[in-house]
């Protein structure tokens, strides 16, 4: 506490050394081995009874140096590494990366490939959101929604497996297009999945939306208003639940999103309950997009899945930034190319990491029981936070 940079020491006391505790306070280690930290997040809590005086995230338990690793791989070889960031939504990771390379390369992606990419993205969004719903409900003690959401997630993962061979780390996009064309009959299977989906979402809602206990546990918990959200750089459902209709798919459109019809669900109260509602509403919107993609793809059969890409991908020296609306928020890649066949620097803007920053502010003053709700509501994946 003595000779550190002014302004930092007081805010962030060191992890080592005696804890700076008040008379009634207790230091509580929350994680990294805790059932509700969604991986290996560690929080150092200062609690007064169960009331949280301060919460300090301690991250890095899953750090693998992915961004440095990118620099050692050629451009096509980076794609599988992006799978392992947000490992429950790898399609959108792939997508953000190939977008930035295509931008610098100036490649035109065939329409069919764009539609398939959007289709994969939206199915991935559904699978990520249902997984969020499962774990967030489990954190608050509701064990049943978990199994119902996994019913849908399994179908999506099976469909992914049929398309690209992988269930989780899809590696399903290539610079300039896609690795493979759709298997015959795949589109019908996707359609069969979407048919009961609306009804299935109603089932989740039946368990939670009007549940008194669920409402008591989520309304007014972890409030972060629009102004603070923007100051923290929050994106995704957290920002939208605060009332700001900001969605990269509309704000900075990419691929065929301008041609698709969908609404952006927006919340009002910026609390955990609104974030829940926004995500569930997004499930329904994603289904709408999936159906439109299916219609287009069925009307326009073809085999064109890849644009004109040079054999050796060497983007011209320069910089580019591209972002997609990942399930968790704005996922952006900032590429600095030096003209070689490897990225000179590839920086990631991971939504989980940036949204996690606001956790101390959202958790402060709540009880330990609410902390798990707050961690859940941000929807973090530690693979993406630490990279």
């Amino acid at each position: 506490m003595s000779e550190t940079t002014p302004g930092t020491a007081a805010q962030f006391p060191p992890l080592e050394g005696p804890p700076l505790l008040g008379l009634h306070e207790m230091e509580l280690n929350f994680g990294p081995q805790h059932p509700s930290t969604h991986g290996v997040l560690r929080l150092v809590l200062k609690v007064d009874g169960e009331r949280i005086v301060s919460a300090r995230p301690d991250i890095g338990y899953l750090h693998r140096g992915t961004e440095k690793l990118f620099e050692t791989e050629t451009f096509p070889m980076v794609v599988p590494h992006t799978d392992r960031m947000d490992y429950v939504a790898s399609a959108t990771n792939n997508h953000a990366y190939v977008l930035v390379v295509e931008k610098l390369l100036g490649v035109e992606v065939p329409k069919r490939a764009q539609y398939i990419r959007v289709l994969l993205d939206e199915m991935q969004r559904i699978s990520s959101h249902v997984l969020w719903l499962a774990t967030a409900a489990l954190d608050l003690g509701a064990i049943t929604p978990f199994f119902y959401t996994f019913r849908e997630r399994e179908v999506i993962l099976d469909l992914f497996e049929e398309y690209c061979g992988a269930r989780l780390t899809l590696n399903c996009m290539r610079i300039g297009g896609l690795p493979v064309d759709l298997t015959p009959g795949w589109l019908e299977k996707v359609r069969a999945f979407t048919e009961p989906f609306e009804k299935n979402v109603d089932e989740y809602e039946e368990l939670l939306t009007e549940n008194r206990i669920w409402k008591q546990r989520t309304i007014g918990i972890g409030v972060l208003d629009e102004k603070r959200c923007i100051e923290w750089g929050m994106t995704g459902p957290v920002l939208r639940a605060a009332g700001k209709a900001w969605d990269i798919r509309r704000a900075i459109p990419y691929e065929v999103y301008p041609e698709l019809e969908f609404d952006i669900p927006v919340g009002k109260n910026a609390d955990t309950y609104d974030r829940y509602l926004v995500r569930v509403a997004e499930l329904r919107q994603s289904r709408r997009i999936v159906l439109q993609c299916l219609d287009w793809l069925e009307k326009n059969p073809g085999t064109e899945i890849r644009g004109k890409v040079p054999r050796v991908i060497k983007p011209p020296a320069g910089e580019a930034y591209a972002a997609v609306e990942a399930p968790k928020g704005e996922l952006g890649f900032h590429l600095v190319a030096s003209g070689g066949n490897k990225p000179y620097r590839l920086h990631v803007r991971p939504p989980s990491f940036i949204n996690l920053q606001a956790l101390p502010e959202m958790a402060q003053g709540h009880l330990v029981g609410d902390l798990v709700a707050v961690i859940g509501t941000i929807d973090i994946v530690l693979g993406e936070v630490d990279r």
Binding site: E50, G141, L207, I213, R250, P265, V372
Partner: protein, 388 residues
């Protein structure tokens, strides 16, 4: 062997032993029922490998737990750490010993009431006193573990105790007013005399008792002292092996005893439905003990159903529920029941009819309420983002 030796030593001993064995076995079987039941509710199978339909899973689990290493944290208070599970388990068994399982039976030439302990004239008071000791087990277990999560679990349990114990007491008083006795056997006989189970005039009291009972057994939605997703394991985080198994058994033992008390006070104990209606006497083919066990079993199913349905309350919300909702309701109900009981059996019947009609009316109203469009569907429709 003299008659008195059999009557005063052998029979009570055998019955006591049976109670302990019954609680332990029933707790084990109950875990199997719970896991299978949850499986059905959650579109999965549940245990299905050991024995037919996985029935021997609970035996396998017990064997595993017995042979597991018993880890005691290095700085724990060793004696109290050991005492914790016992303090929780003993009341569960004692309470079951005080509840009559059936009328007198004759087995092996000995006639005895189906009742582990004696039919005390203050049985209900003793049950209240004994069952609240169990919470000390949780608090002491949490405190003695020398760990922060169990400590928080123990404190939550204390907060929980003071919130539900009072409405629970008042709910029991309502039953006592209707029966005019504290003896469990006499309460059952009073229900036979009155011609109705006390659940009808005591509908509110029963509801209060059962809700408080769920809180007392630390079950969903009041499983705060355990709260796996918040406090890892709560008060039993630092327990392993058979000590943990005793906690587990006491939880299920407590569920059984809450069900047994609710059955005795409000559902006529071992009596068949409508014990005074003669043409229903064919129901007597089922022995009284099985009526009792069946009713208790239904309560246990409700517990399991709760677990699959509800999220968990926060402990301040539970306290608010206890003090601001359950306590005033229990007082008002006590007044109502007292008036009806003053009037006599007819009063109880009128009160019961009114309450049943009210509940039926509420159910019909809820049933006929038009289904609302889902919130999330509305959300998108009301706040459509203008397409760019």
């Amino acid at each position: 062997m003299s008659e008195s030796l059999v009557h005063y030593v052998l029979v009570p001993f055998v019955k006591g032993l049976l109670t302990v064995i019954l609680v332990a076995t029933a707790a084990g079987i109950l875990t199997w029922i719970e896991r299978r039941g949850l499986g059905r509710l959650q579109i999965r199978k549940g245990p299905n490998r050991v024995g037919p339909a996985g029935f021997f899973q609970w035996i396998a689990d017990v064997v595993k737990l017995v042979f597991k290493e018993d880890v005691v944290p290095s700085r724990a208070e060793k004696v109290i750490h050991l005492l914790g599970p016992l303090l929780l388990f003993t009341p569960a068994v004692v309470v079951l010993g005080l509840v009559p399982w059936g009328p007198e039976v004759t087995l092996f030439g000995v006639t005895t009431p189906l009742h582990a302990a004696a039919d005390l004239n203050v049985a209900l008071l003793l049950i209240l006193a004994v069952s609240s000791i169990g919470v000390y087990g949780i608090i002491l277990a949490g405190w003695s573990s020398n760990s922060k999560y169990p400590l928080l679990g123990g404190l939550r349990s204390a907060a929980q105790l003071i919130s539900y114990e009072v409405p629970m007491g008042f709910a029991i008083v309502a039953a006592v007013l209707m029966a005019g006795s504290l003896s469990m056997v006499e309460i059952i006989e009073a229900q036979k005399e009155a011609g109705i189970w006390f659940v009808f005039p005591g509908l509110v009291a029963f509801f209060l008792y059962f809700v408080s009972g769920v809180a007392e057994t630390n079950r969903t939605p009041f499983d705060l002292p355990e709260a796996e997703s918040e406090l890892v394991g709560g008060f039993h985080t630092e327990y392993s092996g058979f000590r943990w198994a005793i906690f587990f058994m006491s939880e299920y033992g407590n569920m059984i005893s809450i069900g047994a008390i609710a059955t005795t006070l409000f559902f006529g104990g071992w009596l068949r439905p409508f014990p005074n209606v003669a043409w229903l006497s064919f129901l007597d083919v089922i022995p009284p003990f099985f009526w009792f066990a069946g009713k208790v079993f239904l309560f246990l199913l409700v517990y399991i159903w709760f677990r699959a349905t509800f999220p968990r309350y926060r402990f301040d919300q539970l306290m608010a529920l206890g003090w601001k909702a359950l306590l005033p309701i229990s007082l008002a109900n006590l007044f109502l029941v007292a008036l009806a009981a003053l009037w006599g059996a007819a009063g109880l019947k009128v009160l019961g009819a009114v309450l049943v009609l009210l509940v039926a009316g509420g159910l019909v109203a809820a049933w006929r309420r038009p289904a609302r469009a889902s919130v999330t569907t509305r959300m998108a429709a009301e706040k459509v983002e203008v397409r760019a």
